[in-house]
């Protein structure tokens, strides 16, 4: 075994995550190892496990080949690691409520969370999981919630940005992966927010108090020394839970593509053909992880899950479409994770050495890909050369379905309405030839009376 430390795992000196081939290991040292042993033998662990809140783990006995540590754990490898700046509003809200639920259960059993990082919540088959076990430590009566600021910046503030101001959090959060600073949100607030006790408590007061105390350093010590009763801490967590649970996304309810499904140009027969192709593909391939590029409201993702796909990650950059996909996910309790992603600008590697928050393709490695009605958006809408679009989509997974949309299709026409047709190399023949250069074409299915064609491909082994 030759484990390598995961580059982004360095903030906590008490423990680090390692990778060895497909195995995920965790080293714990000193106090962190002792705290984990206390947690491991507590009722808290049982209560959290009973609710399915925690990632699995096993203590390793044979550690001779591993670097020195007081305790080694092994975790199951998660198929998807996603980041909060990719989560749509509803998923971020679900993660926030989940984090608070974990804290409340822990507090009832005499434990606390040492931090409130949104990156510690991950989604496996559609359900949230808490993955950072060394975050649990015994709760000492009277101590403050040290993760409050982090919780606000990584969960609450991005949600408020959309719920209060109608601005989606993705771009801002991606540019500030540690979260949206409360001081920045404060600048957006108006007099109305001073009348809201919750805004006052979690956004306005912390900023004003911090500014007030910057000239009176001794006040911080006095405040920190004042014991916060457990009932007050509980009320703080429950108050946040009630508030966040009632937040709803503002604006973007009728974006271009959220209505695509209901008013798109398909005839019923064409739709039937498309559904049949997807069903046959999924039934034959039995995908463990499918990537639905341009998932829109998740119609085809849901179809794939219904046909037996284990889980689907859907990508879209349309806020309204993502909201619709989240509704579909919640309604059907689907193993679908819709993510905000502009395929022409996917999440890059960022943070320390650009490795702390790895790029999207390192975190999500699907076995199959659906790219239906998406090629023309990239080739005609974003001017990306057709050959590059096809090569990039094919490189996502070993097999998939990719759809060609002709220039005279109503959606393509709408795209070209305001720009000159500068795409002489965009056509059915060129599409098929480019696909054949990078993959083996397994099946070709024309969609009746539309000029659209769905190709099933397998990645060329050459």
């Amino acid at each position: 075994m030759n484990p390598e430390r995961v580059p982004g795992s360095f903030r906590d000196p008490g423990g680090q995550v390692y990778r060895s081939g497909d195995r995920i290991l965790r080293a714990l040292h000193g106090e962190a190892a002792a705290a984990f042993r206390a947690f491991d033998s507590s009722r808290c662990l049982g209560a959290l496990r009973e609710r399915g809140f925690l990632v699995g783990f096993e203590a390793l006995r044979d550690v001779a080949e591993l670097p020195a540590a007081d305790l080694w754990l092994e975790h199951p490898r998660l198929a998807v690691i996603s980041h909060p700046y990719e989560w749509p509003f509803a998923v971020l809200r679900e993660a926030a409520l989940f984090h608070l639920d974990v804290q409340l259960v822990a507090l009832d059993h005499g434990f606390k969370l040492r931090d409130a990082s949104a990156y510690n919540v991950q989604f496996e088959r559609g359900l949230p999981l808490f993955i950072d076990l060394p975050s649990f430590a015994p709760y000492v009566e009277g101590e403050h919630w040290f993760g409050h600021r982090q919780f606000c910046e990584q969960f609450l503030n991005p949600l408020l940005l959309r719920a209060r101001f109608g601005v989606p959090h993705h771009a801002w959060y991606r540019g500030a992966p540690d979260g949206i600073a409360t001081g920045d949100l404060y600048e957006l607030c108006g007099w109305r927010d001073w009348l809201s006790p919750r805004h006052l408590m979690h956004v306005l007061l912390p900023v004003r108090l911090q500014r007030w105390a910057s000239r009176r350093p001794s006040t911080v010590g006095h405040a920190a020394a004042r014991p916060l009763p457990r009932t007050a801490l509980r009320a703080l967590l429950e108050g946040l839970r009630a508030w966040i649970g009632a937040l709803t996304p503002r604006g973007h309810s009728r974006t271009t593509w959220s209505e695509y499904e209901s008013d798109n140009s398909y005839e019923a027969a064409a739709r039937q053909v498309k559904h049949r192709v997807i069903r046959e593909f999924v039934a034959a391939r039995k995908p463990r992880l499918m990537l639905d590029v341009g998932c829109n409201s998740g119609e085809y993702s849901a179809l794939a899950l219904d046909e037996g796909a284990t889980q689907v990650v859907g990508l879209d950059s349309d806020i309204g479409a993502l909201d619709a996909a989240c509704e579909r996910r919640a309604r059907g309790r689907l193993a679908l994770l819709p993510l905000y992603m502009d395929v022409a600008n996917p999440s890059p590697g960022q943070g320390w050495r650009q490795q702390e928050f790895p790029r999207f393709n390192e975190r999500v490695q699907p076995d199959t890909v659906l790219a239906l009605a998406v090629v023309h958006h990239l080739a005609l809408g974003r001017n990306i050369p057709l050959a590059e679009v096809i090569a990039t989509l094919v490189s996502q997974a070993g097999a998939g379905l990719v759809e060609f949309v002709p220039k005279d299709d109503p959606t393509a026409r709408r795209m070209l309405a305001l720009k000159r047709d500068i795409f002489p190399d965009y056509g059915a023949e060129q599409f098929s030839a480019q696909l054949a250069r990078v993959a083996r074409i397994v099946a070709v299915t024309p969609i009746p009376s539309s000029g659209r064609v769905i190709y099933e491909f397998e990645r060329d082994a050459r």
């Binding site: 040290f146 600021r149 108090l209 500014r211 006040t219 004042r226 007050a232």
Partner: protein, 82 residues
């Protein structure tokens, strides 16, 4: 009364001072300072509520006992008469 004034001063003074502070004061402290101060304030409010509650209970007991004392024998008297 002196005790109540103390509690009020302890709670209100920092809030008044804070609201009067210029909003553009340079925030050079640890970014978690605001959260810690907020929780210190909540802790102070919780402590004040506990003190006020204790005093209210004492006051209530005092008034209650003084008000009820004469009532108890008069209630019982008719039953004891025969």
């Amino acid at each position: 009364v002196k005790g109540y004034r103390g509690i009020l001063l302890q709670l209100l003074l920092p809030i008044c001072l804070m609201l009067a502070a210029p909003a553009d004061a340079q925030a050079y402290l640890d970014p978690g300072t605001g959260s810690i101060l907020l929780q210190g304030l909540i802790a102070a409010v919780a402590a004040a509520v506990m003190v006020l509650r204790g005093r209210w209970i004492r006051l209530r007991d005092f008034l209650f006992r003084r008000g009820r004392k004469p009532e108890v024998p008069t209630d019982r008297q008719p039953q004891d008469e025969p």
